[in-house]
């Protein structure tokens, strides 16, 4: 039952499984950064009537979707499971019922094929995605913005991350989803807000900009969320419960503009800190589902241009949760010798600065 490591020159192939939230996804990639197969099954339809992800429903959906996706990616890539050199799965952080499904399937495959297993931290998957699609050397400053996370960190190498700042309350994507829900927009709300904001006036409402100008590097969005909620409630009273489309558009545009302005400021502070203490950092990567928002991307590109950081973002399809990023992180870790034993326990919480690095 020894793990067999590859010795010939064939390009290494990695399988990645992602099941930590509401996307079930499997990918096959190789060390030449080619995505050989990639399937993403969204569960949005299962969760939308609840206005958010329901953990038990998500766990059930992952189990019903995953076996079919595994078969499908091998067909898509015209490969067999024995062609794979390393098997990676998200083992946390995330909704544990789903993480268990992906982790167990991956461990069973690794055992049966006699191939190494890599337990990938979901956040590390996001952090390294830009290296799959672009040529970016370490180190870089990372902003991770998604439905569950909002943090900046110094990415020194594979497995070596230093958190600069994190949200003290809500994640940005969570804030988008909740504002959308208040406006009666379908789940997930982020893309809806971006769509409606196009026709709205970003200056129609003057929402608070939490922490703007402050020297520390943390984030906060709950005050903004509350302020938007109060404004919406007031508007609903004024309009007998139903808001005209133009006002919904104005709320979306003003809210999105405020978030972009806050992120611009927080990243500026992170850059100023980094320039002073870590002058070798000259690159910036944004990752996570919120990085798909073009308005927010624009604000981040502006601050990069001002402080002279090179700006990188994964393509939109790799910003949201996906198996390719897990396969890539698994491949990067495997190439550094960072494989895991098959008695790894899935973890609902797993901060990035607790990830096992090369020196550990």
């Amino acid at each position: 039952m020894d793990v067999k490591y590859k010795t010939d020159n064939k390009t290494i192939i990695a399988l990645g499984i992602e099941t930590s939230c509401d996307e079930t996804s499997v990918a096959l990639i190789n060390a030449n950064k080619e995505i050989l197969a990639h399937r993403v099954a969204s569960q949005i339809k299962d969760h939308e009537i609840y206005g958010g992800v329901v953990p038990e429903i998500a766990a059930r959906a992952h189990l019903s979707l995953l076996p079919g996706l595994l078969d499908q990616v091998f067909k898509d890539a015209s490969l067999t499971p024995s062609d794979v050199d390393v098997i990676a799965a998200t083992t946390g952080p995330g909704l544990i019922g789903g993480v268990v499904v992906g982790t167990m399937a991956a461990k069973a495959m690794a055992a049966a094929l006699g191939k190494p297993f890599v337990a990938v931290n979901h956040l590390e998957g996001h952090a390294l995605t830009a290296r799959l699609t672009e040529t970016i050397e370490f180190p870089f400053v990372l902003l991770l913005v998604s439905g569950g996370h909002c943090q900046t960190m110094l990415v020194e190498n594979v497995g070596t991350y230093k958190v600069l700042g994190s949200t003290l309350d809500d994640a940005v994507g969570e804030c988008f989803d909740k504002v959308a829900k208040m406006l009666g927009l379908p789940y997930p709300g982020g893309p809806q807000i971006e769509k409606l904001a196009v026709n709205g006036n970003p200056k129609a409402f003057d929402f608070p900009r939490p922490m703007i100008g402050q020297k520390h590097l943390n984030f906060s969005f709950s005050g903004l969320k509350t302020s938007v909620r109060q404004a919406i409630q007031k508007l609903q009273t004024e309009h007998d419960g139903t808001l005209p489309e133009s006002i919904v558009a104005d709320v979306c545009a003003s809210f999105q503009q405020t978030v972009a302005r806050v992120l611009y400021d927080r990243i500026k502070q992170a850059f100023l800190y980094t320039a002073e203490h870590h002058p070798d950092y000259k690159q910036f990567v944004v990752a996570g589902g919120v990085a798909a928002n073009q308005h927010i991307r624009g604000a981040l590109q502006t601050v990069c241009a001002e402080i002279e950081f090179a700006f990188y973002a994964p393509p939109l399809s790799l910003c949201t949760d996906n198996g390719a990023m897990i396969a890539w992180a698994g491949l990067e870790r495997f190439q550094k010798g960072l494989t895991d034993s098959l008695d790894i326990k899935p973890r609902p919480r797993w901060p990035m600065d607790q990830i096992k690095g090369i020196s550990a």
Binding site: M1, P67, L70, G97, A108, A111, M182
Partner: protein, 214 residues
Amino acid sequence: MILVFDASIEGFSVGVFHLNSSLIQSVTNSTPYSHTEFLVPTIQGVLSKANAQFQDLTQIVTTKGPGSFTGIRVGLATAAGLRTALNIPVMTVNTLSALAHSAMSHHIVNTSDIHAVLDTKCGEFYHQSFSCKDGKLFVETPPRSLPLKELISVIGSGTVVTDPSSKSMLENIPCVTTLLTLEGVLSASNDTASEDLQPLYVRSANINHPKRDA
């Protein structure tokens, strides 16, 4: 060679059997919630003790519930990974049927009215009734989740078969207690197995009302 495992109640067990259903090696780990860590290494260990390799397996049999929702998924996701890797058939069996077969194979029940019962840990009991004729089990009712009062009326004068982790919840109901055995799982697979990986939760995800506000 057949690999049989169960993780659907508490803890887990793993065994390898000859095609004629004789046991070669098995391991049971009764520590609750240890399956996510140790199920796969235990499968490796049991095969190794049997001097066998994954490639020697021709079939996999596991349980699909009812039982612990997480336990069901641990078993079926593991089976899914093994099926993809080895390209061999996976048979899944109803846990209540496997429990009834476990009691039968130990010759501790020989009545014609058998009720397999497991604690749902949500205030109710999974129940399925079987009849027994000439040493063979026949399904009488589909698996259901019942409150205690209804369970008592359904059982009537029949024989209740349950596992040790559910026994204390059955108050004063007389019952035959047996561990869910791998022999029982294998024997149940000869009667009523599915060739897909569909779980048998019996209970819904327990979400009653969609939330209306953030």
